[in-house]
Amino acid sequence: MFKRSDESLIEKAIGGDAKAWQQLVSRYQAPLYYFGLRLLGSPDDARDLLQDVLMVLCRNLAQYRGDSSFKSWLFGIANYRAMDMLRKRKATTEFTDDHDFYDDEAPGFEQQLYGQHTQRMVQQQLRTLPPEQRLVVELRFYQQFTFDEIADQLALSSNTIKSRFYAALDKLRTQLELADVEQSANF
């Protein structure tokens, strides 16, 4: 089936086409929610972030000029809002993450090559990273943005992004090794 481009949907939505707006929302609703879920660690916060970003998007739809891809522009908004929420939350209470996002009843999930256990471990270790490093890893691996795109979204230099990215990889490596050793000791 022919897939309309984001730009075409935006143009129609600005003209008042509710279907185009609905299509645009449904295209990015899940990626934005999962982005929030991984970054903020709480379904409620992820829901708030999703709602916030969609409202901002709706009000500022005409501001999109097409200088970058729509996804990049949209995640620029999401990054800013997510970091804002993280900063506010850090100021009030230290976040302790005990949420489990994985649906055990999902079909075929047990048959994943790297089982639920490994995925949970990686996800847990990702959440221990500082927000700035976590954001870069999220954008690079989960959202498939290039270093230059991430640099544009965060208004930083590409070298700073790379520096954060490699620091995150090193830290994750160390933590995963430690977690592996602890698990071996427990068994």
Partner: protein, 210 residues
């Protein structure tokens, strides 16, 4: 940027395969461990995520922001407004509608009188304009005549003076000529006739009874 970093970033960008990257980074422990960690996260990122996505109602905001209320396309309200406006214009203007002999006549109320007034005004204006013009022309003519009469008088006076002077000169010349003629005559008489006359006169004195 080191060679290993370039290799690693080439793999991240999808320019080389994982096995090629692994082979090339085999000797560099730091970059090899980064590569392994990155691979692990990448696999995790590719795994499906089944957490249910909440449904956010954005339609009300969208409708408020981008949708305008549809305008009614019925002609009746517009027609009604148009007729009302027409009725107002007819009632305020001097337009008259008259039904006569199964016919409808539209006319301007008091039109003939207005036309007559306008005509009278125009005629009065034209008359005044003409009178002013004639008055000016008359004044011009009078001024021209006066100046021409003065010129004629001066001319005549000058001519008369000239003629009088000429006559006087001719008279003087005539008198001079007369005097000269008399003088010649006198000389001639003195020389030729005076002696014989004297004798005649003397003889008349001698014989007064003749």
């Amino acid at each position: 940027m080191s060679n290993s970093q370039q290799i690693f970033e080439a793999w991240l960008a999808g320019k080389i395969t994982a096995s090629e990257c692994e082979q090339q980074l085999d000797q560099n422990t730091e970059w090899y461990s980064r590569f392994q960690t990155a691979q692990m996260i990448q696999r995790q990122a590719k795994a499906p995520f089944f957490a249910p996505v909440p449904d956010i109602d954005t339609m009300s905001v969208f409708a408020q922001q981008w949708q305008r209320p549809t305008q009614s396309h019925s002609w009746w309200p517009r027609l009604s407004v148009a007729f009302s406006a027409l009725a107002l214009v007819i009632s305020l203007s001097p337009l008259e509608m008259q039904m006569q002999d199964s016919g409808l006549t539209l006319s301007w109320r008091g039109g003939q009188q207005i036309q007559q007034e306008q005509l009278d005004t125009l005629l009065a204006s034209y008359r005044k304009e003409q009178l002013d013009y004639i008055q000016i022309q008359l004044q011009n003519t009078q001024q021209q005549q006066a100046s021409q009469l003065i010129l004629l008088k001066d001319y005549l006076t000058e001519q008369q003076t000239k003629e009088r002077r000429t006559d006087m000169l001719e008279l003087v010349e005539y008198l001079n000529q007369q005097r000269q003629s008399d003088w010649h005559y006198w000389h001639y008489w003195q020389e030729n006739y005076q002696p014989s006359q004297a004798r005649l006169d003397a003889s008349a004195v001698v014989r007064p009874n003749r």
